[in-house]
Symmetry: C2
Subunit: 428 residues, 2 copies
């Protein structure tokens, strides 16, 4: 590194640490104000997004234009592009988070000890949360709103392709916080697209960051999990399975499988592999496969399934345990529940799996013996979503086992402390 | 590195990974058996410790003899040495853990969605836990028992000074598991004192370890937090404060402060700093200081406190924010509650703090506005202990904010999964 480069790098480090210090101070304040004050700021933020839609759309047009000249894929540009409807959805999302119950200060548990000590477990904010994400600019508003709801300060680092859009959205949030008498620095944005900033966030800010949440593709998540010196709440891939058991109702199996795969193919809760019992492959698969193909899905069937799935292609071994995030499904015939469990344990990513069956015992074994974050009986894997769970919103679906698992909403972005009330007790 | 060294290193890596694979298989089995099976194995383990006390004492004598020739401190040798009484306490501790309610499979929360989906949050084991600890051989039994209670497999890495003692204790646990029909590999011990094994545990076993728990001094914890590529539940130092507010009852303040400092000085919940209001320093400090000094405590008082603490020495600025773990206490006069809060925020380690006062409003502000893991009103900081909280046993007091905070018992060594029961629901 040249002297000049070193100076630039140390300048960046100092600027990042300044963000960290400001966030720490802001979270102390944000956790101490009333729930109503946090609600008011969120309502103001929704209004600010609506009022500033012209500025946000201008900024977004510039991002989209640059993305086109840089040759980004149509799918990426679709994720990046905003319109009036998407901005309204963003504002409505912030309002929905404003309407959520405020978790801070809530007593989660309380008990009394034989010596008269009264112990309470009370929810507190996690502190300062770093969020590293890609593409979709609405994450800026969603993530910031969830953090404010749960009393946390947040440092946002979005993708460079959405830099102008994110800056415009972030400006609205800052104005709303300030106008509501809360610290603007409760929601900060890394002010540079310098890639080294991510490294600093992950490695050099342990005293300022309590947790990092990566949202994005596998490469991003893996980099964060490899490099982070702060705790990570990770959202890895969703290799979700739907298992049609021999006692499945055919009509239900058709509706649920079609929805689980095709409602939206790009989300982590979309089913990627269909397992079907040998005992019902001849009766059930033809209609299930026909529905999928009619809806535009490519069906990749193993040798035992292929004869029962007209219009399907042969699956390759690589198709199992693969997250297509597309209108493609792998299909495999299994010899009963144990074989299905074994396949899921081997190929699943611990995200979400469903069994379709009228056999209550088989369903209970599936729910008990598998250990994915979400296990469903007779329902679509597409329900893997904080909103659908009644959490109002989510920052993602955690696939780790530490702290939070499954949908991460405002409540999952909290910690707790113990409050103990005595009358002079000493320990013997 | 020479070729020979590289071969040794790669041999060690392979042996460590074999431990990891065995642990993963064992935890699948351990989490699936009944609570009764885990209880039975723990009862058998307690019996095995009692039956094998001659072997354990022999092994311990050899460890202690080597420690003496290596010139270890008297305090370290005291932590290392076992006798009949300590072995009985260890066995009784394992029995107490066997008597704890089994957390696995318990429904923590359940609710129904408007679409009829029934959602349950169910406790599951964390998976495989690595425990890295120093000196005291009883940690081998305590930590292993807590992990078995919570359905986790554990890989233990104790200090080299206790290697023979730990091996003897571990052998008992393994025999008891096998005799109870559970996998012996649910509790494994790193079979070498090679220091590189710790590095492998922290960095090279991400696919086999779900969390690492370090137990020991500051250097160990910091090394683990710096190097770990797996989540860490850390137990940092306890710089605990007791604050005598101007409305404190003098008699209660004397009893509680004496206990908070002197009951046991070497534990993380021992008070290290006494804060006292200027309004009551003349009335309260003389007796409090006299009690401490009479009990053999060195009192280091700031300039404002010194005239009121006969026999005290002047404190240096370094004495504040220091974990003495010894019969030493720093004393500072503060100008009321806000100054006390500010001092604790600046110098505390977020572990445990107490306020002594008869003023309910002051107490509530202290409990609400501070953010340590444990906050007490009118009780001794020495209550910072899983047993005293009613958890039966603990693996330590977590000072981080992620996953668990405060005493970590069997319940805190679990994760959860969502079980969703439907009747054919699809997502609109």
């Amino acid at each position: 590194m040249s002297t000049a480069e070193r100076e630039v790098a140390s300048g960046l480090l100092e600027r990042m640490r300044a963000l960290g210090r400001a966030a720490r101070a802001a979270c102390d304040e944000l956790g101490r104000v009333s729930a109503e004050a946090r609600t008011k700021a969120l309502v103001a933020a929704a209004a600010a997004l609506r009022e500033s839609r012209a500025e946000i759309l201008d900024a977004n047009r510039a991002d989209v234009a640059e993305a086109r000249t840089r040759g980004l894929s149509a799918a990426m540009i679709d994720r990046l592009a905003l319109d009036e409807k998407r901005i309204e959805a963003m504002a409505a999302g912030v309002e929905a988070i404003a309407a959520l119950p405020d978790p801070i200060g809530r007593v989660i548990a309380e008990w009394e000890r034989p010596n008269g000590l009264k112990i309470q477990r009370v929810r507190v904010p996690l502190g300062v949360i770093g969020i590293i994400y890609e593409s979709r600019p609405n994450v800026t508003a969603d993530a910031a709103a969830l953090c404010v709801r749960s009393g946390n300060a947040v440092i946002l680092r979005g993708g460079s392709e959405a830099a102008r859009s994110n800056a415009a959205i972030h400006a609205c949030l800052g104005r709303a916080l300030a106008a509501s008498g809360l610290p603007e620095t409760a929601v900060q944005r890394v002010p540079t697209q310098d890639r080294e900033a991510v490294g600093i966030l992950l490695r050099e800010m342990t005293e300022y960051l309590d947790v990092v949440v990566p949202r994005g593709g596998k490469n991003l998540i893996e980099r964060v999990q490899r490099d982070a010196r702060v705790p990570v709440i990770g959202h890895l891939e969703g290799i979700c399975h739907t298992y049609v058991h021999r006692a499945a109702d055919l009509d239900m199996a058709r509706r649920v499988v079609l929805n689980a795969k095709m409602r939206r193919t790009g989300i982590c809760g979309a089913t990627e592999t269909l397992l079907i019992d040998r005992d019902c492959v001849a009766t059930h698969l033809p209609a299930i496969a026909a529905d999928l193909i009619a809806a535009g899905c490519e069906v990749r069937a193993d040798a035992d399934a292929l004869p029962h799935a007209s219009g399907a292609k042969p699956a390759s071994p690589d198709d199992f345990g693969k997250e297509f995030l597309d209108a493609i499904i792998a299909v495999k015939v299994v010899d009963g529940l144990d074989a299905a469990l074994e396949h899921i344990r081997r190929y699943g990513s611990g995200h979400t799996e469903a069994i379709i069956t009228d056999d209550a015992d088989a369903a209970e074994r599936f729910l008990r013996e598998l250990d994915s974050a979400i296990l469903l009986h007779n329902a679509s894997t597409q329900f893997a979503d904080g909103g659908e769970f009644g959490m109002g919103a989510e920052i993602g679906i955690a696939t780790g086992r530490i702290h939070a698992r499954g949908p991460v909403g405002a409540e999952e972005l909290t910690s707790y402390k113990y409050v103990v009330r005595g009358s002079g007790q000493t320990r013997p």
